[in-house]
Symmetry: D2
Subunit: 289 residues, 4 copies
């Protein structure tokens, strides 16, 4: 994989456009396909999918790479994109960087055995994306909360990737931060980093917090807990679907709850594109080692 | 002024409502007038202006206190509020906390010589409001900028109250911060606090910054400087009107410029209300000393 | 273990004295034994080892608990302390909190099967101790380095407990921090937290750093690497013995290298005592659950 | 002053040596005089005072520049240095950067009217030196206090240059910081930066603080206040002589008080040397403008 000069970027949203721009400014050639809708906006330099596959040294697919109908996830394309047998034959000859590899191969079994790397499945990708996610969460909090984050009392449930970065950001902004976790070593880290620690297991009352961020992908905020949550509390759920909040119950109980999903792509596509690039290059480096 | 038990709060927006709520939870009695529009929203406990003047120990007017037509600045009132001669007679007997005292007295000369305290003219009020202003600016940046503030390169022009707090916040979020100022001692503080210093006088090129925040109330970003500003730069003008950016030129040159004014009231009315309260009590304490 | 009112604290250094003081101010009774040397300093309230064992509800031994000669590690005791068969018989009836449990039981097999809890073997204990360790390392750096940590360029090798806390502290003080690690997810965290990441595997030159902190318990700084280390660099080795630096080679090559061990006990015995207390109570809570 | 290529550096301590080294690595020629004691340590390249005056384009004197006996402040010189009439005649022809200009001119009236710039009297010099001063104070605290600064409760009296930087540093290290000041706008800044504010005027009891740093050059900690200071409190006086603490009373009352003076030169001569250089160049730039 040592000599990639040209990347074919097929499908995706703004993140892939920023990725393309960043690769360009690094000196790579880019063949961009699946962004036909941008043509009307005076966007030039768009190629066919075929050309992107044929004339590139490596191909980057979006996040996720394919939809349920097997079409490439290309919201900015003029029409649906499906890979032909001929295209797949060529793709088998070169590295393909994709997200949700299994789904891609289920859709296109011809790619089985090919060099398909799942950049989105990697731990480093997830960690790096915790930054735009946490910042997106802060943006939601700043928009929805009627006070300042500075001087607020916040609760973050979960001390995984997002919890770690989000707690740091909130404290840096001057919030008094409490973090819920389950393990003694997490409690120790939480305190050593200057937050208050709370045991998720004993979370039966959410009192005295201005803003609560849930990062745990489990129904933490069920009807029972929501009944014991201050009405004035702003609740932001960052957990991937089905999420950690019973929104129906929240609505009934008058708790102001917000679902905030896919924040990197929505709030910071430029950084999200950079993260894809960085991860792709980490893969290349590891393979070449 | 030692024995204030009841505050009359007349006119204003959400800030005054949060102020009222905060005073209430401190144990004070509140007589609220000039919020008639809220009645339809089920808001109770609203009084007449007359009652708020008559039965209170001190009166708090909004920010600013009166409009050009001499009416109280009361956007949530059902109708315009003008003080009558009788009301003014009573107001002369008790402390009145107002913003833009001069304008108030020009509108109501009967208050001349009365105990009218301008809370908004105080330095501490302005410093405290730098926090919601800076946070509002960060919110605008997070919303408008397509990357994360973390890892961004930002420029803050001006090292007054807002510049000081904003630079701290941006750095805390992981931005690489440069601050423009004019005095050697400011350069020294800027470096001692971990930012890069730049001389405003020699600012002829704005290159390599993702986001620029102007806090200087002078036309810094005129057409000439905007011509030497990266097109990709997001420009946020926090300076009070007429502001520090030639928006017309920015539009022509394709520079993405945003005016962000009155941020405390818009982004964080709760904190803004708390700051009014804190300043009013500082005044009371000083007078009683 | 639910009803502990009196702790017997036997042996140890200042850490155990601060532990005793802290437990006292929490309302516990303390029986202190093995501090006879303090008697000359006017220290009262010292008991015999026998009393401490007999009249307590739980016993806390120091860190480490016993020496190679089976005596209790009691540098402040007037004479060596060995547990008698009778004492051991009583100790078997109550919880004993010790450090290096295996060594203790090897020395006193009668304690096998008893409720001996090793507080020092726990992950949370190690994490909490990373704070006084990192702060001790900063103190050494401040003392030995002729510039300020603010504005310095520092390298931390290893991103375990100490590396995590130390990097945070150095950055908070205004240093430009690089962290060496080996895993892609660690690189991602390092960057997401605002440090520069470097691969330990490719560390063949240590150039441009004012201070280097080694936390890796392996010979990273061997003669070869030391030959490629700037002479002006201050090197502080925090790794437990045999350590990560070839000190003999460093001396020959003129690299200013310092070994910094057992920092919590030396630099912050008060915090170290608090951490023992906190860990003992975590154990009690877990057992009682 | 536009064409300085060679600096004559006469007298001083390690700070001037680091200054010389830094100027050298910037490409300047350096003539070093008044460091004769270093010759035994193998230090070469030492000149006579006469040569340093004669062959340089500008002269830098130490901090302070002259002693009470009119000799140059040169603790590392082999013998006392006094400027001769001939030397002064040459010095009048070139810029001289000195500290405590008045004392220098009183000692050598021939320099009156010459281009003598007092770098140490400048505000930016003082601000920049607040960093090594504050860091030196933190070092003293870490060495003397038996707990960690992290988690400690600290009080800083005074919110001038040192108070500002020191409070920031302590908070960054995880201390809960209170700052004493006198002006409402200072209280506002103190709170807006995340510290607790206290009025110096009402400081009659110092209770609940682990470490107190005095930066106010007035006898704040007199016998009366010391009587109302917790015995366990560590007191560090940073105020220039006569200082802000009655040390005699402290000793009697058992309060652990430390005087910490001239910290930049003692704790961080390298940074102190850089600050002299930076200030000298700021002066040159201003003169040339």
């Amino acid at each position: 994989m040592s000599n990639i000069k040209t990347f074919g970027i097929i499908g995706g949203d703004k993140r892939q456009l920023f990725l393309a721009q960043s690769l360009l400014s690094d000196g790579y050639h880019i063949i961009l396909a699946g962004f036909g809708k941008l043509r009307e906006q005076g966007f030039d330099n768009l190629s066919s999918v075929e050309a992107a596959i044929l004339y590139s040294d490596a191909i980057i697919l979006p996040l996720p790479s394919v939809r349920a109908d097997k079409s490439v996830n290309a919201p900015l394309a003029a029409r649906s994109i499906f890979f032909s047998a001929g295209e797949l034959e060529v793709m088998r000859q070169k590295p393909v960087f994709a997200a949700m590899r299994d789904r891609l191969i289920r859709a296109y079994p011809a790619l089985d055995g090919a060099e398909v790397f799942d950049y989105a499945a990697r731990d480093d990708f997830a960690v790096l994306n915790a930054v735009p996610t946490a910042e997106g969460a802060v943006e939601v909090a700043m928009r929805e909360y009627e006070g300042t984050v500075f001087g607020s009392r916040t609760l973050v449930t979960g001390f995984g990737r997002i919890g770690k970065i989000l707690a740091k950001m909130l404290k840096a902004l001057g919030s008094d931060v409490t973090v819920c976790a389950r393990k003694p070593s997490d409690f120790a880290y939480i305190e050593a980093l200057g937050y208050h620690a709370k045991n998720t297991a004993s979370l039966s009352l959410v009192h005295g917090y201005d803003i609560v961020f849930n990062t745990v992908p489990a129904l933490i905020f069920d009807e029972t807990l929501l009944k014991n949550t201050d009405e004035a509390t702003l609740l932001i759920d960052l957990a991937s679907l089905p999420g950690g909040v019973d929104f129906e119950a929240a609505r009934k109980l008058g708790v102001d709850a917000h679902r905030a999903l896919s924040l990197p792509g929505k709030c910071a596509p430029k950084s999200a594109g950079e993260i894809i690039k960085k991860t792709v290059f980490s893969i290349i480096e590891e393979v070449n080692r």
